[in-house]
Amino acid sequence: MSWIVRMIVVLPALAALVGLLCRRQRLLAAGVAISVSSYVAVLALIQWVAPSRSADIDTIGALPLGDLSVPLHLLSDRVSGLVSFVVALVVLGIQVFTAWYLRDDARYGQFAATVSLFAAGMLLLVQAGDLVPVLVGWEIMGWCSWLLIGHDSERHAARRAAYKAFLVTRVADIGMVVGIVALSVRARSTDLMAVLTATGSSTLLTVGLVGVVVGVAGKSGLVPFHDWLPDAMEGPTPASALIHAATMVAAGTYVVARLFALYAEDDAARTLLAVLAAVTMVYAALLALAQTDLKRMLAYSTLSQIAIMLSALAAAPAELGPGAGISHLLGHAFFKALLFLGAGWLSVLAGGTAIAAVRGRLRPTGALRWSMGIGLAALAGVPPLVGFFSKDTVIDAALEGATGGGGFRAWLVVVALFVTVVLTAAYCARAWLLLDTPVAATSALPDSEPALVAAEEVAVVTTADSADDAEVERVHAHGHAAITLPAALVVSVLAALTVVGTLFLTSLSGGVHVGVLSALLSLLLVAGGAYAVWFLSDRGRVDVADLVPDRLREPAVRGFGVDTAYVGVGRAVTALARVVVALDRDVVDAYPRATAVVARAAGRAGERGHRGVPSLSLLSLLVGVVLVAVLGVTAWR
């Protein structure tokens, strides 16, 4: 059993290495990537189906560090098995889809290898039974996201987005590193079991857990670190699917879930998490409603959904465990992968992902239309799709926490959840109406023109509006090959999984736990939100977002200038850096230079002293000699 767990981590890493070596042979690279990810998926299936709970699977042996124990163990249980399986499945789907999507890309080999490495990082994090491998997987994913987002590094926007993504998450990782250090100092070990069972300073615990929350906020895009994620749409669509669906942004949820026992004891860290999650889910859902680009809308929806997962962990009562959060993580993985891959497919057909470009383009496509429909419905939380069950499990858990003495924290989460349910239904309905209503029905309307202009202006400002420009260019340049059967199959299979995914969750303790009343309430809210949009948009003829005043809409599309704030922080640091360089040159280095100047001046003065009139110098010399002699003689006497 344990070798399966090890293989799940090692194989993708090896696949990345091999893929990098044979990146020039496209077929070979694709073969390696796809076959290894399917094999890993099978292994993960075995791990899930036949779980053996063991917390001390050796990897490379413990590190000899004296007072700190770093066993570097892997931990295998049902949760890690299930999450690995879903991750592996999504990665497999993405690899297959990429083989078609990037078939004309010169860097396909590198891309596939990076995806493999990314998967290795995520699987390491999932299987880790030790905080150090968690950090290793965490950072490897960050690095791979930099590579994937910056895949089309010819474009300025892609380079900028990649830089921004890595930097923002890395800044948040200050908290992660400090948190992990504090937790392991508390336990004198980095072993997860030791950390969970350690008893010690509660200050250290709070510092550690808050640190981890900050780190998670960075990677999972909680406010105020959220703005990197929409910009990350600059990467090719499969990369977005990978980052959003089951790996990087969801990793935070998994880490917090692993540490849930500790969070249950510490109110401060949980309150912080609850506030951040509540703010983020509502804020991101609102912004999703206003977006002018399909992929950016999906990105904001991811932010909102991730916050929902984390809110479950922030509000659920201790005895319920982290099941609700994990459950939503898995459900979200299915339908978000589906939505992104579907968006990618659609962008190839439509030549872009801007709403203006894809408007009404869904109608004539068969399987794609169905898939997108299922995906959006799941996102909105329509039963019996997986999204409904996982989300209502979260709501139920939060309600239980609230009624069970969770206080302000839990009630905040509950309120935010219900608001988000309405908003989610609203933006899903808007997206569906925009995608599915034939253009003929809308072209007569005069006000679509200003919207386009506005979108262009926005594009100038954010430089990231029409995401995936490279794909657009590719399509415009020489057309894109029609979708292959495997790629289409991937989308369909994901759609099917979105329908039946609930069955996976049932194997999880606390995975599906829907209260009748809360379910009914959320159903009502979903229906209400969707109907409101349908009504306001005049049955899809008008974009609801256009009804928002431009004054409000444009900043919303731009993310309310958070990017400018980031740039401001960057400018401030750079200004500080300039001060440092100036200080380095003019203050720190002044001392050595002053020493040199003083030494030279002293030398010159000495030299001048020796350039007197020779006869006078002789005179004084002899006076000195005679004086010394007289002194010597008298003293000797």
Binding site: I60, L65, V181, V580, V581
Partner: protein, 501 residues
Amino acid sequence: MALTLMLLLPLLGAIACIAIPGESRVERVIALGSTVVTALLAVVVVWGRHEVDVPWIRSLGVRWHFGVDGISAALVLLTALLTVAVVAHALSGPIPRGGTGSTFLGCILLVETGALATFMARDAILFFIAFEVVLVPMWVLVRRFGDDHVPDETRADAAGRFVLFTVLGSTLMLVGILFLVLHQGTSDLTVLAARHGAGLSHSLQVSIAALLLVGLGIKVPLWPLHTWLPSAHTIAPTAGSVLLAAVLLKMGTYGIVRLAVATVPYGVAQLSPVLALLGVAGILWGGLACLVERDLKRLIAYSSVAHMGFVALAIASGSETGLQAALYGNIAHGVVAALLFFVVGDLKEQWGSTDLHVARAALRDKAPRFGLALVVGLAAALGLPGLVSFWGEFLALYAAWSPAPDRPVALLRVCVVLGAVGLALAAAYSLRVARIVWAGEGSDTAHGVAAEPVADAHGARWGVVLTLVVVIVALGVLPHLLLGLSHTATTGLLSGLGVTP
């Protein structure tokens, strides 16, 4: 026997090289042969933990006492193997202008001799002598073989700074050593370490520790004493930069561990807050300077200041994990800086300068091998897990968070947070470089310099670079290789320090 031979071989090679006039094939054979054999001997010596101990200067009580233990083993291997890489790299390209090839190779061999002797010396006086041997050949490398695109005065300035700073440092160190030897009655480092500061009054320990730390801190370099490093790195030829970063800087930290921590533990403990603060100042200062630095070689030099700050922080923690982290960080920085300087040196050879504000073609497409090596080097520089420097930096932070009992905990914890900020700065500057050089920021307008082709790495140079990449990954994935080497030695070094397990 093998040990003495290993020390004499590069020395004889150097003398032979320098004695050969002009350009000929012979000195190339001599240089490569002696470094390769020395490297093999180094493996043998490290494997067998050889030691040699015979009387040398009887009237001073100085002995010809060299040996390898866990603390120096990795550094000896690093020096010996890296010199092979440096020589191979130098031989597969044009010798820098400024003198004959034989002088150039001879100086490299002399630096190797001095560095190996420093790392293996078991006698404080011997340590000092070996420490000084490195100085003059390094000066020649910077002064005569330095970057010929800059005016002669700049070269003189850089070389002069290097020599004067280092000499000042080693003079202070010598005073410290003499105090120590005078009061302990022996210069044998093994005996001194075994006494562990016993028999020295507390004030004396503190003053000796201060002298040693300032003296060696110049070489490290610690924060306010670092201004010699950027100019020396920028001017030095590739071989000089690599040796400077990978070998010479290590002599400083190694000296702190070997001379100060082992022999005057109380003094070091008293001064550790200062050491930690200076280390963190270096981390932030270097990181910030890298954000706006225009010259790539200068930038790597400042990043060296930042990385050595982590090592200083780890030493200041005083715990066993801290020492392990310091030794690991030492090696890690050696390998990473060597890789970066090899790559950047080759690029500078082609481009003539390494100004980041000049838009150039993206290495990613134009020279994928350089691109790969550069990206791996930068990833390691920002402390990416799975690459070698992660362990040193993470463990340094851990150690500083839980220092030895006699250290100021609160201060060190503040230092940890600031050090973690330094990690974010490292990410910012590494990716800034990657964005400009690797992804070709600003080269969208494909004309001028940006349109010029870049010759990719090939032959022996590619071999050298690839080997370093492999080492970086291997040590990052399997940190035991190094931690195991130094484990028992650090325990011994700290015994009596009062470290509670």
